[in-house]
Amino acid sequence: MKALNRRDFIKNTTAVTAGVATIASGISLTTFAAEPKESEPVTKEKRWGMLIDVNKLTESNIEDMVNACQEENGWGNEVHSRAEQKPNWIKKVKVKDKSTGKIDTLPMMCQHCEQPPCVDVCPTNASMKREDGIVLVDKHLCIGCRYCMMACPYDARSFVHEDLNNQKTHMPRGKGTVESCTLCVHRVDKGGVPACAEVVDSDAVIFGDLYDANSKINQTLKKIQSTQIRADLNLNTGVRYSGI
């Protein structure tokens, strides 16, 4: 074996040191990058929506959706409220065609209108629509007047009648404020889908960006016939239905 001369030794050592230094600096860089960064504000370039195919959902599917919403957002454990006072972020609704007697069962929640009546009537600006089309209640500003509950054609909002504790960290809720489906905004902002869409078949409830021509929801809406509930009100809802 050839003995290492001085020049080769220095050459090899330098190469190894440089290599280690490169890798090590990479490691330290990633460690420092763990400092949490704020995400960018949402923009008008997106509009979140949901397409619900009623024919692909059984009644038990819809109950699963309701349970998933309760589990995710922590509502439904109110003990002091009467039945009609209890919150209902999403519910099972039966509609009957009077002439044919055909019955459809569908999940009903905030329809995330483009022209939301709840926002129009709010005296404190608490009821609001985000740039990306999600309609929310800013409970910091809500005074609990419940005008929005009166204005909503879908009966989507509820009022909290009792003191609560052990709320979910991502979903603060409290007595004296109005609340409704948030389209699981805490999940959507992290790139996820709403809890109700996650528990059922991905073809039965499609969640996505209505404006994105490559999204599944956009392409499906181009192909099949769909309806907005109470389309006559011209609210341009974000939640669409097919098969009714």
């Binding site: 910091h140 504790n165 603060p172 809720r173």
Partner: protein
């Protein structure tokens, strides 16, 4: 005309008196201005704007230049509502997530644990929030909606 008269009078005053007058003037100005500056330093006109400035530079309070640990404590005591308010509107209305400050993180660290290992609500009597708030007689509205203990492990 008047200015000319004044210059004329100054010429009459002896050099010595003039020097004393100048020194007195400097002392007077120094006193007057130091008072103004002292006032500026103790008065923060818009806490919200100040909070934005602190948050924009993104450093932890006690690591900022010219800020001791004691100063950062005073800042936090005085300004925590503004620091949180600033973040809350951006998160809720504009969907800005992440970043360092959040009420969730305040609660994560500032809750105590009782003998059985259960978390005590941060707003309970004698706990982190209530000790000061009781003393100054202001109610905390955060926790009628926000969770008072760290989230359970999933």
């Amino acid at each position: 005309m008047y200015a000319q008269q004044v210059t004329f009078k100054w010429d009459l005053v002896s050099n010595y008196t003039r020097e004393i007058m100048n020194r007195l003037l400097i002392v007077f100005l120094a006193l007057a201005f130091s008072n103004v500056f002292a006032h500026v330093e103790h008065h923060i006109p818009n806490l919200g704007a100040k909070a934005t400035e602190f948050k924009d530079d993104g450093k932890e309070a006690h690591k900022r230049p010219n800020m001791s640990h004691k100063d950062s404590l005073i800042m936090q005591r005085k300004m925590h509502p503004e620091l949180l308010l600033h973040k809350r509107d951006r998160t809720l209305r504009q969907g800005v997530r992440g970043g360092r400050a959040s009420l969730e993180k305040c609660v994560d660290c500032h809750t105590s644990v009782d003998k059985d290992g259960e978390h005590i609500p941060v707003n309970a009597p004698e706990q982190f929030c209530s000790t000061c708030h009781q003393k100054v007689g202001t109610s905390v509205d955060c926790f009628s909606c926000h969770r008072t203990t760290p989230a359970e492990e999933m």
